[in-house]
């Protein structure tokens, strides 16, 4: 298997399932007043593109078990709506300035309108989940709603951990705490939840969702670390603000390593910089933080960590899928482990 074939199959499937989800999603975005203040805002982030990894994972896992795409589509739409809703809120909470190559929603329309749009988008995700009753039956539909509740709780806990670290300037964070935060904040919505509900749909509620936790975690954690790396070293294809994580004081694996490895003077200065708000941080501060991360090989350390996690994801997937017939979807899910660390 070469990197080229991996990218080819993964990107083909992401396009295929992504386009389907995007087309079906339009039906759930009302085209009525107040468009300027609400519905245009709801449609903004979904229209900007995105990788569509989350709905694709859901559809592929459902198909892995033999379900037709139509049965997974409502849940895939709900996942994408929830993802975009959380992006709006995340951007406000992080004070982010760019999303998918354009200014964030709250910079374009102000925090109150953006917040309201995010709330509405979250509630809009309920509609396709309710419609699962007619597609999947009440039992499976209830299971998916229950999974959604769990995912929302885990996400909120992870987001609280990260925001709390920044607000109270936590500097004694280790890799284990970082992984736990990523597990909750990123992995549950990005990988664990789509895979778990996909398995429930495909098996008509028989598969045990707990079996998919490890694969989803390793895949999602590798994805997040690569995302953090791209924020530090990515090129113009990366749609977010360059060095945004440093401006926001995010506790990434690289920053945690710098905190851990730095000498006492460096440590003191870094803690003082992290204590400042984004507005108080200067370009020189950010440049110095980058230098410190480079000094302690932060990028290499994180890259190696992500590669190891991708390997673990492959191992877990081989255990999960051993009894399932070979298919494009099986290959796609397997190759996602390599794709998440190779993307740019």
């Amino acid at each position: 298997m070469t990197a080229g074939t991996t990218a080819s199959l993964v990107s083909t499937k992401l396009h295929e399932y992504g386009d389907m989800t995007r087309a079906a999603l339009r039906r759930y975005l009302p085209e009525r007043e107040p468009r300027r203040y609400l519905y245009d805002l709801l449609a903004d982030y979904p229209q900007r593109g995105g990788k569509m990894m989350r709905p694709s994972l859901c559809i592929a896992t459902a198909r892995l078990f033999g379900a037709p795409i139509e049965q997974a589509l409502p849940t895939a739409i709900a996942i994408e709506l929830l993802h975009n809703a959380l992006l709006i809120h995340d951007d406000i909470e992080d004070g982010s300035e760019k999303r998918r190559g354009r200014p964030t929603l709250h910079l374009l329309h102000g925090v109150p309108l953006a917040l309201n749009a995010g709330d509405t988008l979250t509630l809009m995700a309920l509609r396709p989940l309710i419609e699962n009753r007619t597609v999947m039956g009440e039992g499976v539909a209830l299971m998916i709603i229950s999974e959604t509740e769990r995912m929302a709780r885990e996400c909120a806990e992870g987001q609280a951990m990260e925001l709390g670290w920044r607000h109270y300037n936590a500097t004694e964070i280790g890799d284990a705490e970082y992984l736990e935060m990523v597990l909750k904040k990123t992995c549950w919505l990005a990988t664990i939840f789509p895979i778990r509900v996909g398995a429930l749909i495909g098996s008509r509620g028989v598969a045990d969702p707990e079996s998919f936790l490890r694969f989803g975690f390793f895949l999602g954690a590798a994805f997040q670390i690569q995302d953090d790396l791209l924020n530090l070293i990515g090129d113009e294809r990366y749609g977010k603000e360059k060095d945004g994580d440093l401006w926001e004081g995010k506790r990434t694996l690289m920053l945690i390593r710098a905190l851990r490895e730095s000498n006492s003077n460096e440590h003191e200065r870094l803690c003082a910089l992290l204590c400042r708000s984004r507005e108080q941080r200067s370009l020189e501060d950010v440049i110095w933080m980058r230098w410190l991360i480079e000094k302690y090989d932060g990028a290499t350390y994180a890259r190696q960590f992500a590669q190891e996690l991708a390997g673990a994801a492959l191992h877990e997937f081989s255990l999960l899928s051993a009894g399932l017939p070979d298919s494009h979807d099986k290959l796609f899910l397997e190759q996602m482990a390599t794709w998440v660390i190779a993307r740019n």
Partner: protein, 242 residues
């Protein structure tokens, strides 16, 4: 011009880029679930004590420890929300069990209890998918379940529908009729185009349902009775999507 000792750098550890992605997956953590690797060599926060070098076992061991703890915590939380055992056990010949089942069957046939018991049965089937229930419950898009219950469904509908049929055992041979399905909302018209017809093979029956295109979406329920005796034999519920 001085000829001082010539500067000599150590040979580099590697002389080319690392491109062996495939080698990444030939790691030696075949027992990936063991979560106690290298803990003594790690610092208090899960990173290696020297901070510079870290074997693959350490990173993966740490990640496995995090996810295993998460799974344990998830189980604890689930127990906090629901600590009632499901009492799933094999059916025995004991009198109490037989009495309990008989009473339950009778109760489920009473139209007054239809809605509440219908929900209970659905929750049971959600928790214990392999536990056989007292009634057949074929779903409209699951052909496998139709065949096993000797009832075939013929649905004429332009929209997605979900059919829920509860029928007393051995009722297939009796003359069945539906008295029409009604919605809770009295403004919605009843669904009347429902008929049972004997099938051509092995005594199986066919349930035919026709949903007019203009019929309002919603859930419609009603009873199935013995045409000759008027005895209630089951319930039929149809949910029509928008």
């Amino acid at each position: 011009m001085s000829y001082s000792k010539r500067l000599h750098r150590d040979d580099p550890v590697r002389t080319g880029p690392i491109r062996n992605f495939s080698g990444l997956y030939q790691s030696n953590y075949s027992d990936g679930h063991s979560s106690n690797s290298s803990s003594s060599a790690s610092s208090k926060n899960g990173a290696p004590a020297d901070g510079r070098e870290r074997s693959q076992d350490e990173g993966i061991g740490l990640a496995y420890r995090v996810i295993e703890k998460h799974i344990r915590d998830g189980k604890k939380n689930a127990e906090r929300f629901n600590d009632q055992p499901y009492n799933a056990r094999p059916i025995t010949d004991g009198f109490p069990e037989l009495l309990e089942r008989t009473i339950r069957y009778q109760n489920e046939l009473l139209p007054l209890w239809l809605q509440a018991l219908g929900s209970a049965v659905r929750i049971d089937s959600l928790r214990m998918p392999n536990t056989p229930g007292p009634f057949t419950r074929p779903e409209s898009n699951n052909p496998a379940s139709h065949g096993s219950k000797a009832i075939s469904l013929e649905i004429a509908s332009a929209r997605p529908v979900q059919v829920s049929l509860d029928l007393r055992e051995h009722s297939e041979a009796l003359p069945l009729i539906s008295l029409g399905l009604r919605a809770v909302d009295e403004n919605k018209p009843p669904l009347n185009d429902i008929s049972f017809a004997p099938a051509t093979t092995r005594g199986a029956i066919r349930l035919r349902i026709s949903v007019p295109d203009s019929h309002p979406p919603g859930t419609y329920s009603g009873v199935i009775v013995n045409r000759d005796s008027g005895e209630t034999l089951g319930t039929l519920s149809i949910s029509i999507a928008e």
